[in-house]
Symmetry: D2
Subunit: 472 residues, 4 copies
């Protein structure tokens, strides 16, 4: 899939325990998590006194200069955040970490995810007189923590009480002057791992960020777990147990980096298995298998291995697209796709091609790709999708849109096949997702395919559409 | 005086009543108020829906591009702010307007001044669970308005209730989606004028900003007055009366632009009178009178006129110093003053010179100027200061520092004369300030000279020194 | 190979023949050629009058804004250039296109390549009184053209005379107010293709840039050919024939984009064949084949196909590295490689791995990769290189360094194997290069492997080392 | 006068003789010369090896960062330049210093002035094969020096030979790796002073730059003099003598800073005398005298002193206009003048006002000012101009335009008075210029008033209008 869906955020935090140059480590950690958010990036740091913060719009490599890193001093704790906006508008005000000053000092928050009861919480706070500077639900969390802190004996008690009030999928880092607290939602919808660099303790959205910073994986933070790191060491507390485990299956299909391992399952291997399942369930006689870079490539290799049909490189992707890339005008729109992706004609000309992509949202991009392959000489184009059809929006912080913009909500698979101009079309069957994850007993959230939201009983008051209304 | 004291802010707001291109008008209004704050600038605007805001560090001419002005759309109300930090650190977070989202929508605030009970108000709010994103007292006002708004029938009622709680000197613009509200503190410490451009209503810190935008002066907003502009027209309400009038006398001496008229008194004429009084009270036989640019020049002309001693240009000021000017190194510090100010040797060589400046804070700058004049050949240098000696800090938003940094708090005038190397030294006598203002009955605040703070009975809980502690 | 060798330049030019928005087309053409130079980019354009030029340091997506593109007007001819410095220092002065004003008007030059007789030509010009504003050899070409133009009847005659004087490998675009001239060196060392968009004529370093701009390939410009496009149509002239064809074989191995076709040979297919040859010549019993992204991946797929050993993804590359990426400090150097490349542990743990890369320069990077694979659990690491050992510097504009920095000049293959920590090491045999290109009779330059420089008889007076001395 | 005429350039150079931190000194020297050019600024420096250069568009305070200054190393010689374009377009290519590489190494040139035989020299060079990268005549000088250097034994011999070829008004600094050479044209049209800081030798356009850098004035460089500073000390050579001295009288009237002394005459005193002469020659019964900031103020003080009519401040100027100031739209054009200059109503209301300005070019600005004064309540406005009417263009590097754009070329004084809406109008009589300079015997160039060009015999081939044609 080429840039249609976007993960919301990547977070990275470190409690130094004597280790120095924490801002640089957070920088490289965020750099490894760049795929989770390209809109803005920020780092907050404390040496027990001031909380300093640097954040700006843009890629990690654009946001930070050596001076910016130096301006964060030599902290004892630091947390960072890459943002892709799912709620809230694209302004620097909404960039994280959010630093707040309150009765007990200062705290900084990094948040990946979405609160499903955000609007009711926010309304309640506003009715009590709270003001908001941003349109992101992370600020709701900060407000709640500040209020609870006034009646709690410690920051972790306050955080725990807030976790009992919020609903949704989230991974949160809270930094006070003395403590680093990591929390994962009770369903485990959002990933969060814990690692170490010597005595220093690290948290990150994905394990690839541990490796980029020389950290070794300790374990995943558990759903419903709060881990508190302070001068007293590491302490874990399960603030909520018993919830059905519901990690996001789409992290494996698309969001996460293939070199990450989430809850013990290799993202790369999942994708290979998805391809193999497609080969078994939707076989077709063809000359080669190609993947749509980057996320379709691993599934394509899995399809090839299972089917015996050779895997070839079908497209070259131009990876130099940055934030300031000038979009093609209407007249050049026809070539627009070839600017980012270009087929290798010698690889596909005269061939019956199986093209694997991870998902279809509106169908326009994939129709362009099918057309490009035919222009490059492909005699047949068979599309295989390494996920089931999107039928429902996601309320947990990924930007799967509302149903009226999902092609599969309104069209049969045969209609979609026709619309994208493919010779055949096969999706991964939703019943095969556990096989994709490799462990039949594994629980996961597949609500965007099934509508089976893990906390549907609680009511959902934040539709993606509503987020915009907050800005008004 | 060369850059030692700084005014805190300039504000400009407009309710369009059909007029278009309000952001440009605010831009030129802020440009005319640049002397009141060079740290950051911002404009917030609403067309009845979204509040859009653009703000950044730097001068007005640096902060805004055509694109930035365009991004504010075609609003019906717009307010703007130039900041010079007196409380709060120099970061973009502290730049104004402050835009807040709360139960009844969004509001933007521009604030010139200082709350003297800021810390107690902030502590109270924090104890109730409020969080702060900035270290400026303007955010305290925003929080209070949001709280009061929940129990008030209108935004103006909420603002009025908040004005009853806050103490200090201030001029405030509050913009909601439908209304523009202007408030001036009960003592009139901070200036605020009202004007019009056709049907549009304008508020500005000084009348020079009206002229720069083609507006005509209606009148000064009165101390303790709240003016509400909405689709229902203009409504005035005196939310507090009976307070002693106490406009800041230092606006006339130094802060305001000479072409402004504040509360009916021309700033330029005040300065001429200050010079004339000095000539009467501290006469000396000399060959010429010179002024330290810019603020000493008018008083020098007044001294010349009264004494008959010719006024000449003593110094040339290099006005190209911008935000990014590189400060001279220690080795070049000796020339540092001549980089910004250079004496005209032919004007002072062999002369007995009377040099007029507006004030002395620490004395180091004026000592350099006296020394420069002697190097340029002046045979005598008589210093006259168009204000009384600073003896007390200001708690209302100007950065007259605490007493330990005020030379006159620790030294006699004779000692100061000796320290700055002058042949004679004369200050404006504090009893002559009403003559300077031209109307004997006029009330004003001269607390920085006398310690007679207008609301001293209420207690002052925000010392300038404490502001820094908030940042910790 | 990870960022060790760099191509020098990419060029793109268009003669509109009525087509509009040429600057945008050059923009997308340069964007497609970004891999050939990331240091600076520039576009020059003429509408028959002024030559306008915009150039700056940075990536294509950084250098151009919409305003910059607009500032080029609506030209009839436009040429552009991406630079990677091989000679000359990294300053904006050295960025291309080079615009010169001379007796007959203005001309702009874009140049990919290196003159081997640059120093003697430059010295001669200087001795005749010429001054140089840059340290790039492109300016020598401009000076020569200007001189010849004075005694020639046309710009193409002048260009032709200059081509008879210069030696080396080059592809050059010359734009006068009325004409666009494309030249390729007599050996064909540098690639250059010709295409069309309707009536417009396009030249580009690689065919991928044609596809990105909706152009169709006409043919490669021939070695020793000059193509002149003007209002009189297209005219071709062979200014030098009979030279041995010697296209750069390393374009196929590493430089060019795999979707390009150079002189009729698909780059992608060449790399597949290189892998297959390695499998035949250096077989080894192993569990999987991996490629070092990006250029080793295609050869790895070729190796896999020939050997039957499964191809898997061994590394994930972080493609977000931009110009302003902060390099890791000494302490973090150990992780530095994992920041850009990270192994997929599940793919290689417990496996005997064959790792394919395109070349080895100094050996340090590949040693890190081998070490990373072992840490990730690989039990054996067999390295295969899809090119012969580098033994000699390149004088034609690629930055293969001098021999003292080439590991293969000083060490046997067995020694290199030991130094990089591999279990086995195999290079592509130099005798197999023609098989790699797919056509035995094909001539090419392999001087960096063999020392057999195509124009060695003429003497080479520009060593890469000498370039630096010009800057002194 | 408000921004209508602009000086072309300011130059500053230093030969260290052991002094360190030369780039900072040049920085402060250029800062003091900012009034002579605001378009671009640059510094070139050498430590005997590389010539390093930093230049960019913008004010001195914008162009240089600490990093930029550091990038110039610790040189033994450094020269700098502020540019205001009189010939050549406004692009970074045309910014100075111009650094050239030629047969004998590198040289950098800073040039203030205009060559009157530039086109014929340039054509000759182009016909010999020279190419130009810029449209400024400074590059002609560089080309000539490089050519002469090949047949000369030393750089100073080459410079001398070039000076014999060029015509016009100029002050030039030439820096080779070992020498700093300063040259002033034979007529002394352009100012150039020499000073010292300890053993270091400094050259600057005006003496105010010496004072800003702690240098003491040695003397003015003489017309037709070349001063060579090297390790062998200071050597002076008169390369041309006997020319009529013809320093630019407009430097005294407008261009130079009032604290500068040029050829022994104080700029400030000249302006006072101009005012006094106007009072004698064009007396009028009035209540006050005001000056148009900045350059009209000194003459206004002189008028006041001579006439006994009080000098008051009539206008406040907003000095914060920077390069990026957004110009008012057509609708706001009426207020445009008040944005930059605003009258002090209390000073002029009900008064008969004498307003002094330095010159009138097209008359539109002064008409606006007269109108503003009337709106502010002035009952009479008498305009006095401290220079004679402009009747002829300047060919020596100031942008007095061609005759068709000079109001006085086409209208009588009475007509101009009527057009600008003044009650009376008086110009300084051209016969009084020597009295203005204070020394009757002084020779000067007043060609813009008289058409008496000092080197009219030589022919003038560069009209200002022709400069544009070079760009084509």
């Amino acid at each position: 899939m080429v840039g249609s869906l976007n993960e919301e955020c990547g977070i990275y935090g470190i409690y130094g325990n004597g280790l120095t140059d924490l801002p640089s480590l957070v920088y490289y950690g965020l750099f490894a998590l760049q795929h989770r958010g390209q809109e803005s990036s920020g780092i907050a740091a404390t040496d027990g006194g001031d909380v300093r913060c640097h954040k700006a719009m843009g890629l990690v490599s654009e946001v930070y200069t050596k001076d910016a890193i130096s301006s964060l001093g030599n902290p004892t704790i630091a947390i960072g955040h890459n943002r892709y906006s799912t709620t809230g508008s694209s302004t620097i005000d909404n960039a994280q970490p959010l630093v707040s000053h309150y009765s007990k000092g200062s705290l900084a928050i990094c948040h990946n995810g979405n609160l499903t009861n955000c609007i009711s919480l926010r309304t309640k706070l506003e009715n009590e007189g709270a003001i908001f500077r941003t349109t992101v639900d992370s600020e709701v969390i900060a407000q709640l923590i500040a209020r609870e802190r006034n009646r709690s004996e410690s920051i972790e008690t306050a955080v725990k009480k807030v976790m009992e009030q919020i609903q949704g999928g989230y991974a949160i880092l809270v930094m006070s002057r003395q403590k680093l607290i990591a929390v994962r939602d009770p369903y485990g919808l959002k990933p969060l791992v814990m690692g170490k660099i010597g005595d220093a303790i690290v948290f990150a959205s994905e394990s690839c960020a541990l490796q980029a910073t020389g950290a070794t994986l300790i374990r995943d933070v558990k759903p419903g777990e709060m881990v508190i790191v302070s001068r007293d060491g590491i302490r874990s507390e399960m603030y909520k147990t018993g919830a059905r485990s519901a990690k996001c299956v789409f992290e494996y299909i698309y969001f996460a980096r293939p070199d990450s391992v989430i809850d013990g399952i290799s993202v790369y291997e999942s994708r290979l298995r998805a391809g193999a399942i497609l080969a078994k369930d939707h076989p077709v006689d063809a000359d080669c298998v190609i993947g749509v870079p980057e996320s379709g490539i691993d599934a394509a290799m899995g399809y090839s291995k299972e089917s015996g049909i050779p895997y070839v490189k079908g497209f070259v992707k131009n990876g130099y697209v940055g934030r300031t890339f000038i979009k093609p005008s209407q007249e050049l729109r026809a070539q627009a796709v070839r600017i980012k992706l270009n087929p290798i004609e010698s690889a596909v000309a005269g061939k019956r091609v199986i093209m694997i992509d991870d998902s279809i949202v509106r169908g326009t991009t994939i129709a362009n790709l099918v057309n490009m392959l035919r222009q490059a000489g492909a005699v047949e184009v068979h599309v295989r999708i390494s996920s089931p059809p999107f039928l429902h929006p996601c309320y947990y912080g990924t930007d799967v849109p509302s149903e009226d913009r999902l092609i599969a909500s309104h069209h049969s698979i045969e209609e979609i096949r026709d619309m994208i101009g493919a010779d055949s079309l096969g999706y991964l069957n939703v019943s095969r997702l556990d096989e994709m994850l490799g462990e039949p007993g594994h629980n996961y959230c597949d609500a965007c395919f099934t509508g089976d939201y893990p906390n549907i009983d609680t009511g959902i008051d934040l539709m993606n559409e509503d987020a915009a209304s907050l800005e008004k």
